[in-house]
Amino acid sequence: EPEVTQTPSHQVTQMGQEVILRCVPISNHLYFYWYRQILGQKVEFLVSFYNNEISEKSEIFDDQFSVERPDGSNFTLKIRSTKLEDSAMYFCASKGFGELFFGEGSRLTVL
């Protein structure tokens, strides 16, 4: 069964460091998303990506965040200079014809 895969599963970083989280969406899907979930809180929308550009982003997705689809298969989320409050589970998701499929998540811990 096709699935969304994410790497790394867990990353620990120092505050101020750059982090790149990687995702391989389901191959025939057209919409790609990043969500985050701070421990114990709701799943929050960060950004959606369609046709090689950002289609929508939330207020959380500030200038420190960027997304890229560098090679037609990977979909990456970059946090330029991490803050303590960026510690969360980051979920990648892809959508074909309406149903959203999530990866297992990347846990980011910022020290």
Binding site: Y31, Y33, Y35, Q41, K42, V43, E44, F45, S48, Y50, S55, E56, M89, F91, A93, K95, G98, E99, L100, F101, F102, G103, E104, G105, R107
Partner: protein, 112 residues
């Protein structure tokens, strides 16, 4: 402001009992999805409802989409300890295909 309100937030009941979880909004959705999330894992899709008034069954789980497509419910019959988990509703708003928003979730605990 929560676009999708889920209730209750927490529910702890005995095995064998029935329960209903609600997902409400003032917005109209083109589709609504229910997910289940285990600790430390990503949400797993249970069902998508698209048509107003639609009812879908998944074994002991019954999902309903409101006629006006603003709300949904999840009913579990004869709950089992294996039903324990976080249940999330998520919706795609009309004419906003790119963004799927989530409710806060209902944490369900079934006591054996």
């Amino acid at each position: 402001t929560q676009l999708l309100e889920q209730s209750p937030q927490f529910l702890s009941i005995q095995e064998g009992e029935n329960l209903t979880v609600y997902c409400n909004s003032s917005s109209v959705f083109s589709s609504l999805q229910w997910y289940r999330q285990e600790p430390g894992e990503g949400p797993v899709l249970l069902v998508t409802v698209v048509t107003g008034g639609e009812v879908k069954k998944l074994k002991r789980l019954t999902f309903q989409f409101g006629d006006a497509r603003k709300d949904s419910s999840l009913h579990i019959t004869a709950a089992q300890p294996g039903d324990t988990g976080l249940y999330l509703c998520a919706g795609v708003r009309m004419n906003r295909d790119d963004k799927i928003i989530f409710g806060k979730g209902t944490r369900l605990h079934i006591l054996p």
